[in-house]
């Protein structure tokens, strides 16, 4: 942490199962900001209403030591049931959804629609001068799509952040 050359940092996707109680998200976010950890994306929603459980997926980056700290600090929060490092634990599926608004006419409009087709994005809203595309995929795919839309009249983007789940038969 102190040495002159920075050790390698890695991107990790961490799933956190928490009691769905007031303040729990603030605890998680406060932990990251208070201790100076990165949050690249964070999603949260209730996943088991009966057990009152929410699942937080957080994408972060840091050295191996920092990632260990992040997991230990998360586990230490009282309402946390489970912390799983999906990046370490083996293959996981990661998805993000984005809504991408592109405004334009003529050639550019046609081109945006063509590229959306290649990316298997859905058109969920359309006016004579605009589209809203819905695209689902890994974050890098969404990045690529947005980059391609940039010169074609990109005006607005809304992204969910990453949700992730381990491959195979096991629960979290």
């Amino acid at each position: 942490m102190t040495g002159k050359h920075q050790p390698h940092t890695h991107r990790h996707t961490i799933a956190v199962l928490v009691d769905n109680e007031p303040g729990v998200l603030a605890r998680v976010i406060g932990l990251f900001s208070g201790r100076g950890y990165n949050i690249e994306s964070l999603t949260v929603a209730e996943v088991a209403a009966r057990d009152n459980l929410s699942r937080i997926t957080v994408v972060t980056s840091g050295t191996a030591q920092i990632i260990e700290q992040i997991k230990a600090q998360l586990s230490r929060l009282v309402p946390v049931h489970k912390v799983v490092d999906l990046t370490n634990e083996g293959p996981a599926v990661e998805r993000e959804l984005a809504l991408v608004k592109v405004a334009g006419i003529g050639e550019k409009r046609v081109e945006s629609l063509r590229i959306a087709g290649i990316f298997r994005a859905h058109t969920v809203d359309s006016t004579n001068e605009s589209f809203v595309f819905e695209i689902v995929g890994r974050s890098d795919k969404i990045d690529a799509f947005i980059n391609l839309m940039e010169p074609l009249g990109l005006v607005d983007v809304s992204r969910t952040g990453v949700v992730a789940i381990a491959r195979g038969t096991q629960p979290l």
Binding site: P22, Q65, R76
Partner: protein, 587 residues
């Protein structure tokens, strides 16, 4: 059952506190908690200590908790009451002190409206409490209180805040007992992994230059852990050191004790930490005050780390064998496995290691220049220790040079007799902490070793001492300076003493008298013993204003950003040591 429905929130709260075995609560009333105070008024079981500032209530509860091992309890009102408590909460958090702090809150219907004396208490205290709750339904109240006590004392202890809206404490609801409450998620692991324990003891048996490094976790773990730590020390014959928080875990009179480790630790403890080949860290956390510069910290050693908090492992220093578990449980297993495997230490290697250590000891690093004219601060502590040791006093401190001298020159043979703000370094901690300890042990000699500046941060508690007839002795090491600040300015800022001298201080003797206590001033070494005896023998609270040498610095010192083997041993070292650039940004 129907009877249980007839209780209002305040009654439920008091019943829950009684079922948790709470005997004393430190507090201060206000609008939002009046219904609770009304209930306190109607009963005799729970003793309420009325402090003069909410910060002091929290430190007093800390003193009580640290001296007894029980969970401290605090009750304050909403808004300013809860914000005043914040410093104490963080202090308890950093020093792993179990506590439940109940705060009043505006009624639920007004939350979020910037109501009178509203504060977002759960928001403000989230990063300075182990956990917190806002109780919105009176039927959750009993469960929350029981959970709060469980969380406060389980695993790594800490402060838990329970925010209580006024309508919740007046509403009628249901009581449930502690036996009905089981926490859903919080179940800290107390047993250490046996494979790790086996690896640890085998490493210890091979060690040629071992050291045991004991922290406050040994004391927090309980009396059994303390006994086991002493047993381990005896069984291995290893040298051991203790952190500021660990003083008294294993008796200081044990011949294997090297003294305290860290920034103002002894030469032999720090060099042994630096040169060892196996370090066994037990209930300590490689705090920066202990390690100095981490990149050069104990470079040749394999490290074993026993801690109940997994987040302490590999946080500051990467270790070779982590053992997550309660110190008591882990030490029990370690000793058992050691015996079962019939392990032995490397006697020969250990002998030559001790020879090396004895060489460092011969430096006599706590030596200081005696004086017949002025009272040297070290001398003041030495005399206080000698004249009170047969009484087994509980020593609290404020923060600064006096705190370090107190740590260096008092010897603790028992745990829970040393109350000092380690992690947060809170000036103003000592007097209320001493007060809390005195509440727990009314017959015991309790002394606050104070600086003339720190003491003024919670001096108002002299009134509490008077009201509760608490005979706390306040031993002020009066150097007219923010001494520790002055020391850093001398060593690191070219002797530019910006704002570290105070021209005006109260007459502490008159101040004591104003509060109904007794006091005396002493400025000659020859009068010191008599003054100390007067302080001890005078019934009731007492301030001894000891005028000490203002220019004295605390040595040894590892300057900020330096390594353990770059210690300054005394004034003669100062000039040669340029402050490193790294060091200048460290605190």
């Amino acid at each position: 059952m129907s009877h249980d429905h007839d209780l209002n929130g305040a009654e439920i709260l008091l019943k829950a506190l009684a079922d948790q075995g709470v005997e004393v609560v430190f507090g201060y009333p206000g609008g939002a908690v009046l219904p609770i105070y009304d209930e306190i008024f109607k009963q005799n079981r729970l003793r309420h200590i009325l402090v003069r500032h909410e910060q002091a209530a929290v430190h007093a509860a800390e003193g009580y908790a640290r001296a007894t091992g029980k969970v401290g309890a605090v009750l304050v009102t909403s808004g300013p009451g809860s914000t005043n408590a914040v410093t104490g909460l963080l202090d308890a958090m950093l020093d792993s002190t179990p506590m439940v702090c109940m705060t009043g809150q505006v009624p639920t219907s007004l939350i979020g409206n910037d109501a009178f004396q509203e504060a977002d208490t759960t928001g403000i205290t989230r990063p300075c409490s182990k956990h917190n709750y806002l109780v919105k339904d009176v039927n959750d109240l009993a469960r929350v209180i029981h959970e709060a006590f469980y969380v406060a004392k389980s695993g790594r202890p800490g402060p838990v805040v329970v925010d209580l809206p006024k309508d919740v404490v007046t509403a009628k609801g249901r009581y449930i007992g502690p036996d009905k409450v089981r926490h859903k998620t919080y179940k800290p692991k107390v047993k250490g992994d046996i494979a790790a324990i086996e690896a640890a003891v085998e490493l210890m048996a091979q060690a040629k230059k071992p050291i045991l490094y004991l922290g406050g976790g040994v004391i927090n773990s309980g009396l059994e852990a303390v006994a086991l730590a002493t047993k381990l020390v005896k069984m291995t014959g290893f040298p051991f050191t203790q952190t500021l928080m660990g003083l008294g875990a294993v008796p200081a009179s044990n011949p294997q004790y090297l003294g305290m480790v860290g920034m103002h630790g002894t030469f032999e403890a720090n060099l042994a930490m630096h040169d060892c080949d196996v370090m066994v860290c037990i209930g300590a956390r490689f705090d920066d005050r202990v390690t100095g510069k981490t990149s050069t910290f104990s470079p040749k050693s394999k490290k074993i780390h026993i801690d109940i908090d997994p987040s302490s492992i590999n946080k500051n220093v990467v270790v070779d064998i982590p053992v997550v578990g309660d110190v008591g449980h882990v030490l029990e297993d370690m000793i058992r496995v050691w015996k079962a495997k019939q392990l032995h230490v490397d006697e020969k290697a250990l002998k030559s290691w001790w020879r090396e250590i004895d060489g460092w000891r011969a430096k006599d690093c706590l030596r200081y220049t005696k004086s017949k004219k002025v009272i040297k601060p070290q001398y003041a502590i030495e005399r206080l220790y000698e004249l009170t040791r047969d009484k087994d006093p509980i020593i609290a401190t404020e923060v600064g040079q006096h705190q370090m001298w107190a740590a260096q020159f008092s010897k603790f043979d028992q745990p829970r007799h040393w109350l000092s703000s380690g992690g947060l370094g809170t000036m103003g901690f000592g007097l209320p902490a001493a007060m809390g300890a005195q509440v727990a042990f009314p017959e015991k000699l309790v002394i606050d070793i104070a600086g003339e500046s720190s003491i003024q941060m919670n001096i108002q508690e002299l009134a509490t001492l008077a009201q509760e007839r608490l005979p706390v002795k306040i031993f002020i090491m009066n150097n007219q300076y923010l001494g520790m600040v002055r020391q850093w300015q001398e060593l690191l800022h070219g002797g530019r003493y910006a704002e570290s001298h105070m021209d005006v201080h109260p007459d502490f003797v008159k101040l004591a008298e104003a509060y109904g206590a007794k006091g005396r001033r002493v400025d000659k070494p020859a009068d010191l013993d008599a003054a100390i005896m007067e302080m001890i023998e005078t019934p009731g609270a007492f301030i001894l204003d000891v005028r000490t040498d203002a220019s004295e610095n605390v040595f040894p010192m590892i300057p900020p950003g330096a390594a353990h083997n770059e210690m300054l041993l005394g004034p003669e070292d100062e000039a040669e040591k340029p402050s490193s650039e790294d060091g200048m940004v460290l605190v």
